[in-house]
Symmetry: C2
Subunit: 392 residues, 2 copies
């Protein structure tokens, strides 16, 4: 086990009607004027928007608002948010929505109190050392941004999708009401579940030995997602299944299952190039990339893939041929993803073979390799992308 | 799953030589004058005391100190600590040791800024609403107090052992260096491992259904302890095994594996009466009580005991007789406890049959039942205590 620090100071308020505590929580964590940041009409249609506004009005918490966050959130809206916060003297940002709204809120939070261009944080030109406090009301179990220090933004000029991180970006509070996720369509639900699984996998596939405790947590979260997702797809209003998936989504990414070990993150980086160009749902892009990444690294480093097969998918170990066991694990994962309606090829997400060179150029613009479990070269990634093209 | 809140804002600094960051962490969390609170000579013998003092001196952090914390910490020393803090203008308390030193430090932290008797918190006469900040350097993987809001103190006048709780008692930081636990004798190591397991069990044995995610975390922590403890007893300097056990100990009690569910805590309460009178190591007392509690509740509510057998101890389910499977799980647990040198009877911990009535009187002084998984009456607890007497 490697040395580590772990700090997850977010206050989580989880359960039915938890959103009604929002004004009280904003006050508790020092907010006196709020920017409400959200996506499109879904929170208005569901009535959530009205409940939040009603709660703030009732408690006399002043606010301004900025909607319009799109999946794979863009830099343009962040600049607007920063300007608005400065102009209006906002001191607290409330994100209402999924990972995109939260990531965009974090970018505004850091950018509002920074003299330079907020994209400096995303291009590695500055560290996030201060930010306005952020609170969240989560509506999708997926990105884990509600408990993480991370934010991913797409630079509109270059279409480069980049992450930034900093403990000050961890939300002060996050409100998780599973009921709010019940209206989510099956495809978005499944893409969210896939995102959660890959957040765990990027930590699970590690060369650090002797990390039993985090291995067991990773497996526990994966098994929960595998159990609950089909139950939700069968019955979208299944509160209990939604609740378990929602909490699993937080645990998958606040790093409690990732401490003390080298992590990978190649699948995420490879996927980010896809969703930056095609605006594919991140989880759906991961459903294409991650199993192909597994197939690719299997030959070079089968160890953890054998554990993945036996401990997560409960496939009996073939001691004479552990690699065959590992392959069965990948096949089980692929079958699961297909069963929940996730894509498995470029064609299914509208990606084009002709763009591979361009994506690889962008991916390797600042580094010679990707990932850690197996360090992937440019050629490796080309091979992974190509294997996603049907008939390849 | 029940509604819940979860808040674990402690900063964990984990790994080799982490204690050398202590002065920096005290400063970061606002300390300007420190009370160092610890037990006996072991931290002096090991050199830890000198390293801590050296670090504070080097960084110019002023301190006073109070040693002498005993296992099952007593109210007398807490009063001394409160007086010292007030007299010296202490604004930060650093506990160096195990759960006893930390629990005593939390009591001093709350008592120093409270006008009444600090025992009010423990007797349910007042809520802990403020406290001096506490930091810890942990030397034993056991109590989980390094990440929990809890503290247990024995009132010296009455020998009543009582707990108090409050989020302000969660340490600001906890330093966990597994190397510091390598000198711990086998008996203390095993008692700590038992304490960790029962912290999980008190949460696992719940009537709340549909809590897959926390069930899987509980099982993961239990399996880690079962795997690592014998490796430590075989090789006390096994850093990796010590590291996994140490982090498991934190996770077992910061409540990440207990949210959203009714918990039990009968075994702890039944044990507290033993350790209050006989000063037996808490984990060793639990090793006597917990399996007998399991045997007792098996007849009334076998459900979770079947899961415990199949999922934790990997005993195949006998579908025609699940209770028999559950019993095999309890037997596996008892065999494990014996194998790590833990006691299984009153005789082995110096407890006396004649004291049973007195302990039960104290246990039920404020309540008619104990626990939730099965609500135990006075007669139930008498039966459990009696079953701990050999030849009974």
């Amino acid at each position: 086990m490697d040395n580590f620090t772990f700090y997850s100071p977010t206050f989580f308020d989880f359960g039915r009607e938890a959103e009604l505590h929002v004004a009280e929580l904003i006050r508790r964590f020092g907010g006196s004027k709020v920017l409400i940041h959200y996506g499109g009409g879904s929170i208005k249609k569901s009535g959530l928007y009205d409940r939040v506004i009603g709660c703030l009005d009732e408690e006399g918490v002043p606010y301004v608002e900025l909607g319009g966050v799109k999946p794979n959130p863009r830099s343009g809206l962040v600049y607007q948010g920063i300007e608005l916060c400065r102009k209006e003297g906002v001191d607290f940002i409330l994100a209402v929505g999924g990972g995109s709204a939260i990531d965009s809120a974090k970018a505004i939070a850091a950018g509002s109190v920074y003299d330079g261009d907020f994209l400096d944080f995303y291009h590695g030109r500055a560290d996030v050392e201060k930010a306005l406090p952020v609170g969240t009301i989560l509506t999708i179990a997926a990105a884990g941004s509600e408990g993480s220090p991370n934010t991913v933004i797409t630079d509109e000029k270059t279409l480069i999708k980049k992450g930034a991180s900093g403990d000050v970006l961890r939300p002060k509070f996050s409100i998780l009401n599973p009921e709010l996720t019940c209206t989510l369509p099956p495809y978005q639900t499944a893409a969210g579940a896939t995102d959660i699984m890959i957040h765990v996998c990027e930590r699970y596939f590690s060369n650090t030995s002797e990390v039993e405790i985090t291995d067991r947590l990773c497996e526990g979260i994966l098994k929960t997602v595998i159990y609950e997702t089909p139950r939700i797809l069968e019955n979208p209003n299944h509160y209990e299944a939604r609740a378990n998936l929602m909490w699993a989504g937080m645990l998958a990414h606040n790093n409690v299952c990732g401490v003390g070990r080298e992590q990978d993150w190649a699948s995420h980086n490879i996927e980010h190039e896809l969703s930056a160009i095609y605006d594919v749902t991140h989880g759906a892009g991961l459903a294409v990339v991650a199993p192909l990444w597994m197939r690719h690294v299997l030959k070079k480093n089968p160890g953890k893939l054998v554990d993945f097969a036996t401990r997560v998918w409960e496939i009996p170990l073939d001691e004479t041929n552990p690699e065959a066991t590992a392959l069965q694990g990948i096949e089980a994962f692929e079958a699961f993803l297909k069963s929940i309606g996730m894509p498995g090829s470029f064609e299914e997400i509208g990606a084009k073979k002709e763009d591979i060179e361009r994506m690889v150029d962008k991916l390797f613009r600042n580094s010679d390799t990707q990932g850690n479990y197996v360090k992937l070269t440019r050629e490796d990634v080309i091979e992974i992308y190509k294997s996603a093209v049907k008939g390849s």
